[in-house]
Subunit: 257 residues, 2 copies
């Protein structure tokens, strides 16, 4: 199935589950929708923090069509599930946001780790949480993001245990994809970035780290959502976890060289 | 001389000429200053057109210090020469913009081709306009930029003749530097992108294209200035051509892998 067909299926209500594994090879994206008066600060925050906040598309105010990465798509209907937050609190989880859409809404599509995990696997590097059928473990670190306007906070990272002899290759492979978090932000000692216990992630599930493996940490797309919610915007809409937007981009197109 | 010393020399009025060759190895940047109410559209335009508009820094409104790329610097005094435009017309050329500074000004620093020309030369690829002691030839193309708010227009490119057997290496070398225009946008036939005669550049000087050479075209930093002026903003301040801002970044730090 290609991306367009997948979006049609979702739009018609024929798919309500997570998007992992749907339209393989096509880039999936995180969604953050904010009113225009917050969009400048959010875009600046993303620009200053490209590793946790890699922007793939910013729509024109009021326009739900992501013209560059999926012409013809509609961001109000083409994701299986959305979360609506009011003043930082979860207000509703819905399958369609047409009733909530406003003329001053700006939608941000942000790169997601599915893309670089595919690249790791293609390169023969195991991805533990996929092997274990779990969600990736995520941790709040002591790494400060660079603030922009009202947005500020700590960086959230995801962790993947990498065999010692594959760490260099894992860095090379993910470096090619700066628009989906890129190279790791830290290798090894979790405490050096403020993580007390790998067994107790702040989000997602713990995974096994084997004897010959080193924990490697990548900037995580949860960061911009967490930072935006912290600022308690009047309204903010996101995808539901795992229920992403499927773009027409192919993963390999995001490789910088 | 390092970047900090170079900026001090300029700030004290001890250097008023072009910055090419000063503080070698340190990244130089184009400057565009706009009022905050235009900054969102300009940043979105740059995001949608990263090849002609590679952003290195966006300052907070009213703050003349580019905290990330040159902490301690002052963008009002640390460039040798500035141009002030009102409603799209050149109003003044000055050595210091402290008298013109406003609390709603946002400064954009954009990557400049000096960085990738250095990389080409280091890789044994000749750069003709440097050899000939001229300004790089620049052409207005028929390539439409992606519009954002009030900003729209054609892409301006610079041209460098590259020996046939070095074109692939030139692409590899410049691909490493997406934040200073990156890979070429076109190779060969000028008419294919709307350029009638290489002998008549729209900006800069014509250079010789030898028999075994192919004209190669890169997106040019003149594009965002031209597009911004076209929109006739009430006020806009830029560096004077060739009189750039010298950052603390080292050119090699901009390499993506």
């Amino acid at each position: 199935m290609d991306a367009k067909k997948a979006r049609e299926m979702i739009r018609k209500g024929n798919w309500e589950g997570p998007t992992c594994g749907i339209a393989p090879g096509f880039t999936q994206a995180n969604l953050v929708i904010l009113p225009k008066d917050l969009a400048y600060d959010f875009m600046l925050f993303a620009f200053r923090n490209p590793k946790p906040c890699p922007i793939l598309e910013v729509t024109d105010p009021g326009d739900p069509e992501p013209k560059n990465v999926a012409p013809g798509a509609d961001l109000r209907t083409d994701l299986p599930k959305y979360r609506i937050y009011k003043k930082g609190e979860l207000y509703a989880e819905v399958k369609d946001i047409r009733d909530f859409w406003r003329e001053d809404f700006v939608a941000f599509l942000l790169g997601c780790s599915f893309t670089f995990e595919w690249a790791l696997i293609e390169n023969g590097i195991p991805v533990r949480h996929i092997e274990e059928g779990k969600n990736v473990p995520m941790y709040i670190t002591n790494i400060q993001t660079k603030p922009a306007g009202i947005f500020k906070g700590k960086m959230v990272v995801s962790m993947r245990p990498i065999p010692k002899d594959k760490v260099v290759r894992a860095i090379q492979v993910t470096s090619r994809f700066p628009s989906v978090h890129g190279a790791p932000v830290h290798i090894g000692d979790p405490e050096a970035i403020g993580i007390r216990s790998l067994d107790k992630p702040d989000f997602g599930d713990p995974v096994e780290v084997k004897k010959d493996e080193i924990p490697v940490f990548w900037a995580c797309g949860v960061t911009p959502q967490a930072v935006a919610l912290e600022s308690k915007p009047e309204i903010m809409i996101t995808h539901s976890p795992g229920h992403m937007f499927i773009t027409d981009l192919r993963d390999e197109e995001l490789g910088v060289i």
